[in-house]
């Protein structure tokens, strides 16, 4: 009995552990090794601890990397600004219909990610349903465009990752004791002051968690940039894809991937450190 009890925890982690080992750790190790190889597709690659791959990657694609982080940051802010009011409304005003509205919030995401992004392309085309009428009425210059711009990429990212921001914020708001904003009002705070001094600080952990959940995958995303952006809007995910599949430059692609990973890791750790881990990762920390 005692023996079984002692080993039970390990047995419970075993399936997940094996899964991680097979599909995460092993490929990661292979990729790490690949990133230090040299050679080409025809002659084959050899392990040479060629750190130059990293230097080259950053040298050539440093700008793309910076742009990726910039777009992801802008889209994260946009996500927070757009989803906070919605989450607030659902948490405090939706009454008995909360689950219904939460469902409505996520229902578009049942459609495939790529399909959704292509649908946006239809909407944003130069003479599409959005810009066409505005141009016809002379409200916009005829050469005005949204598609193939950085704005379109940021908008697409924002849209595609919105629920990952909205849901943590909703959960955080839901957890705030209803009497706290009331206590603030009772103590002479107007609506705005009660929000700024009580509700907002108490719901910030949700915003912080949402920021991590959206920023990290957005920085590595390439679909939005490829579908909605122009040639000058490439993101690092797109470059990795192109180097890997189009150019067969496996070491460069791997090195770039690891660079991105390192940058994101440092960014998130710095962020967590600045805010306190508990705020970012919730009560689990």
């Amino acid at each position: 009995m005692a023996r079984r009890g002692r080993f039970a925890p390990y047995l419970l982690v075993l399936p997940g552990g094996l899964w991680l080992l097979a599909f995460f750790l092993i490929p990661m190790t292979l990729m790490a090794s690949l990133s230090l190889q040299s050679g080409n597709l025809i002659d084959g690659f050899r392990q040479t601890f060629h750190w130059q791959n990293y230097r080259d990657g950053i040298g050539v694609y440093g700008g793309v990397l910076a742009r990726s982080l910039g777009y992801a940051l802008a889209a994260t802010v946009a996500c927070a600004v757009l989803s906070y009011p919605a989450a607030h409304w659902i948490a405090f005003r939706a009454g008995r219909h909360k689950t219904r509205y939460l469902f409505l919030l996520v229902v578009p995401y049942f459609v495939s990610f790529v399909l959704r992004t292509f649908a946006w392309r239809q909407v944003l085309t130069d003479d599409g349903p959005l810009l066409g009428p505005l141009k016809d009425h002379g409200l916009l210059p005829t050469d005005f465009r949204v598609l193939d711009t950085g704005f379109a990429v940021i908008a697409g990212l924002t849209y595609n990752f919105l629920p990952f921001m909205a849901l943590p914020i909703y959960v955080a708001l839901e957890r705030v004791d209803r009497s706290l904003p009331e206590a603030a009002r009772d103590l002479y705070a107007g609506r705005a002051a009660a929000f700024a001094r009580v509700l907002l600080p108490l719901s910030l952990p949700g915003v912080f968690a949402g920021a991590v959940l959206t920023f990290v995958p957005m920085a590595a995303d390439y679909v939005n940039a490829e579908v909605l952006g122009g040639p000058d809007d490439t993101m690092v995910g797109g470059v990795v894809r192109a180097e890997y599949f189009d150019n067969g430059a496996y070491p460069t692609a791997s090195a770039l991937s690891f660079t991105l990973m390192a940058v994101l890791l440092v960014a998130v750790l710095a962020y967590a450190r600045a805010l306190g881990a508990r705020n970012v990762l919730g009560d689990a920390a």
Partner: protein, 412 residues
């Protein structure tokens, strides 16, 4: 105390909440006048509308009808932040992201009080509630009693016209609750602010208040000093909810100068002074168990008396509880054990229970409880008695009234 403009005045205030299948009334027309400087309690079972009453005064709920006045001025449409009352919430509602000092200073800062004055007033108030030295502590590092005192200080520091306290002691354990009762009373006397305290604990209401309003099902049944409410409850609900009462129902058999007389069999006779009921009319009277004497000898004719058999004896140390089955049903008697050598009665004994007629009082015939359409769900009582009379002892009215209220609450 009663003259001048009331600090808080309510006139015919009603409030219903939307619920399944219509609305759930929480307040059904409440009139109230709380004098300045008074310690006023609202006592009632869970779900009777106490919190709603406070929320209407604080400005968190808009009444469907009626009017709330603070210091004589109507506060119709005035938001909570512009009402000069502060609330101590049922859950304290301390801001978890602020320390004790910032919690207490919150109201003063919102009103633009200067830094030096904030520091001075908060410091002084923390002294009053004996929390000096804990300024930097977060609420989650405080004990229940300390949190309660922070919540109190946070309200009092603003020197409002009135402090509204929603069951401030309910979350504390018994000993702390008793200590805090004294504390609250002391602070109120020291600061001289009007207190409106909501509670479902009758002991708390009686011990602390200048006046008590007893509330049931969205209505105020009676307002009076603790003594008035206890000694002269006007409705069956008040008689059962505040302390324990023996309820005796019967028909008036005779009208005498000293009052209405109800006869129970050959030996039973109960007189109620000043009852307006006529001969033949049904009448319900109440007697407190501690006012009743128990003995083997026939009491003198002037006393109200019933003859019966001791059904149950409960020895409680300081007192003994008897339950006596009489022609009018079970009568509960509390007897002080002031003579250790004497046991007046044992189970199965034939005894007399008797009391001075000034201790019997008639209950309002049409108490709200009776006009209630679901009157058949009124607190179940141990009842007995023949066709012409029944005695109820509402020893458990507190609990059963609460379950009745909970049922109503369940509709919401």
């Amino acid at each position: 105390m009663q003259n001048g403009v009331p600090a808080i005045g309510l006139r015919d205030v009603a409030k219903a909440f939307p619920g399944r299948g219509g609305t759930v009334p929480a307040l059904r027309g409440v009139d109230l006048a709380v004098a300045a400087g008074e310690f006023f309690s609202v006592l009632g079972p869970s779900g009777c509308g106490k919190t709603t009453l406070l929320r209407v005064v604080a400005g968190f709920e808009t009444p469907d009808r009626g009017e709330v006045r603070l210091d004589g001025a109507s506060v119709d449409g005035v938001p909570p932040e512009r009402r000069d009352v502060n609330t101590v919430f049922q859950s304290y509602a301390l801001f978890p992201h602020m320390n004790v000092f910032d919690n207490v200073a919150f109201g003063l800062r919102r009103r633009g009080v200067g830094r030096a004055e904030v520091r001075e007033r908060v410091g002084r108030m923390l002294e009053v509630v004996e929390l000096t030295g804990r300024e930097k502590a977060r609420p989650d590092a405080l004990s229940g009693g300390q949190r309660q005192r922070v919540a109190l200080a946070r309200a009092l520091v603003n020197r409002p016209r009135a402090v509204l306290l929603d069951e401030p002691l309910a979350a504390l354990d018994l000993r702390l609750r008793q200590a805090m009762q004294g504390e609250l009373k002391r602070v109120q006397r020291e600061v001289g602010v009007t207190f409106v305290l909501v509670t479902h604990d009758q002991g708390e209401a009686l011990a602390m208040s200048d006046r008590v309003a007893v509330m049931n099902d969205g209505r105020i049944e009676q307002v009076g000093t603790p003594r008035e409410v206890y000694e002269r409850p006007r409705t069956r609900f008040v008689a059962g909810f505040v302390g324990t009462s023996n309820l005796i129902a019967g028909r008036v058999t005779e009208w005498r100068p000293e009052g209405a007389v109800l006869a129970f069999g050959a030996d039973g006779r109960v007189v109620v002074p000043d009852a307006s009921a006529r001969s033949g009319e049904p009448l319900e009277i109440a007697v407190r168990p501690e006012k009743i004497g128990i003995g083997r000898d026939r009491p003198d004719d002037a006393r109200c008396a019933l003859r019966g058999t001791v059904a149950d004896v409960g020895y409680l140390g300081a007192s003994t509880t008897y339950s006596v089955a009489t022609a009018a049903g079970d009568v509960v008697v509390y007897a002080q054990n002031d003579d250790a050598t004497r046991t007046p009665a044992a189970r199965g004994d034939r005894v007399w229970v008797s009391w001075h007629q000034r201790h019997s009082y008639a209950l309002d015939a049409a108490s709200h409880d009776d006009t209630n359409p679901d009157a058949d769900r009124r607190p179940p009582t141990r009842s007995g008695g023949g066709p012409d009379g029944a005695v109820r002892s509402d020893a458990e009215a507190d609990g059963s009234a609460r379950s009745g209220a909970a049922r109503r609450g369940g509709v919401a």
